[in-house]
Amino acid sequence: MGSVNVNNVSLHRKTLAQLIAGLRAKEFSSVELTRLYLDRIEASQTSLNAFISVTREQALVAAEAADRDLAASRGGALTGVPIAHKDIFCTAGVKTTCGSRMLDNFVSPYDATVVAKLKAAGAVMLGKANMDEFAMGSSNETSYFGPVRNPWNTALVPGGSSGGSAAAVAARLAPLATATDTGGSIRQPAALCGVTGVKPTYGRVSRYGMIAFASSLDQAGTITATAEDAAWVLREMAGFDPRDSTSVEKPVPDYVGSLDAPLKGLKIGLLKEFFDKGLDPENERRIREALAVYEKLGAQLREMSLPNLPLSVPAYYVVAPAECSSNLARFDGVRFGHRCKEPRDLMDLYKRSRGEGFGAEVKRRIMTGTYVLSAGYYDAYYLKAQRVRQLITSDFTRAFGDVDVLIGPTTPTPAFEIGAKTEDPITMYLNDIYTIGANLAGLPAMSIPCGFAQNLPVGLQIVGPHFSEAKLLNVAHLFQRETDWHTRVPERFS
């Protein structure tokens, strides 16, 4: 692995705030930094497969421009900082595949708002991170471009669907990455790779140009090493976008400025449902140890129950496939994407283009969604699930009347072996048992590293009321001031 030392600290081990300061002080240039990360990506591709596209030439051109801006003391908050974008975000002139054969030939004509905003803030794109196909998966094994491997142990999955983003930051192939979360796709891979993942409130970050999976659940967020890094990036990403009809018109608070607020008197809820029999005992010990850190910081713990929460996975596996079947109807082999060879007629063109272009899990979800929305079943499945979703949301609302945040595990177990859960979709779906609730209720939630079980990272999940990102980042940052789990890097990438 490539490494450049400045003041005896390897550049790739610096936090985002340190990189920003170093670039401004001309301790190193954006070109040096960008080249370092590009070389690290290249050296890791065979073992991790974290990227679908690496945009070396564009990255170096952007880095040179950033260096000119830095020399002239111009630019934005992130000028010169390299970034990886999940391949679900459209990037003008760059292949955007969503992990699918369907879009293997798709060169986006425009930038997603998130990409444009980070570009305007000065970030330098390194490439497009690998992901589960159309963000449907919890292990990154459904990607058409092959699985991503966990940097802590390459026989294991990195989690999904933002597995490339999480593996890239864990192995320090990029200081930060964008990601998306529909049922846990930021938090679960962040937990399994030992990094910090933030899923903001529904509507907080624009989804324009972010390829849709389940529109009432999807939200864009960040994967970084630390909560402080996440605050820096989220401050640039968040905000109203007239091009996204679900975007909320609400000012973006200064997430960085509120990181150090004291936690004395913070009320933390512990959900009975998060400490169930499915939770690995060693994972649970790490979570309990983390809670002790919060008690030391003056927080109060309160046990509570959200009785409808156990129904979140079944509700999700009606709502998400239903919305996916509708969203993915746009892939018709006519306007863009894969088209089959020599179609006999229009129906054949649709069916074969879609049958060939989509992988097995995507087809499973489209068919599940088609079934639950079909005549005679809509009330029994979709409407029923949306009613249960209301019950789950009301549970959360009641809980946040009593406590400031909920804290618990992000996942039931640490990372599992590649291939271990591919045969049985429901076993795979249950990986997201602790994360899906926040999506159903539109809540912000994040995962931070809190130790190791079986030598693998364990994630601590923090969930808050709508638009409480500043509080979540504060709660996470103060934990990271007391612990050093977020600084750990797998040995071969250190």
């Binding site: 009809s245 639950v372 079909s374 979709p425």
Partner: protein, 96 residues
């Protein structure tokens, strides 16, 4: 709940997906298992609960003024199309 081969073929037709013969039994098994799994929702008493319409309470979908805001980019967009002629997307003949 066990779905039949015919039901899977009908769902695939509605979804405009061509399945290989070997795929049908695989989806028969997994979709049946998924439907059993989501059947757990029946345990919840939802008689007096309205279905959720928006993830943020009190908010609904925003509408914009009905005004032209985008420019014509069809040439750029059609660069991604499998087959185009005279700015039109081509498909196999639909009307004899």
């Amino acid at each position: 709940m066990a779905l039949t081969r015919e039901q899977i073929e009908n769902i695939a037709h509605l979804a405009r997906l061509e399945l290989q013969p070997a795929e049908v039994p695989v989806y028969q098994e997994s979709l049946s298992a998924i439907l059993d799994f989501v059947g757990e929702l029946d345990r919840a008493d939802t008689a007096s609960v309205a279905p959720m319409a928006h993830p943020l309470p009190g908010l609904s979908q925003r509408l914009r003024p009905d005004a032209v805001t985008e420019q014509d980019h069809h040439e750029l967009y059609q660069e991604n199309a499998p087959q185009v002629a005279s700015s039109l997307y081509l498909v196999p003949k639909v009307i004899e």
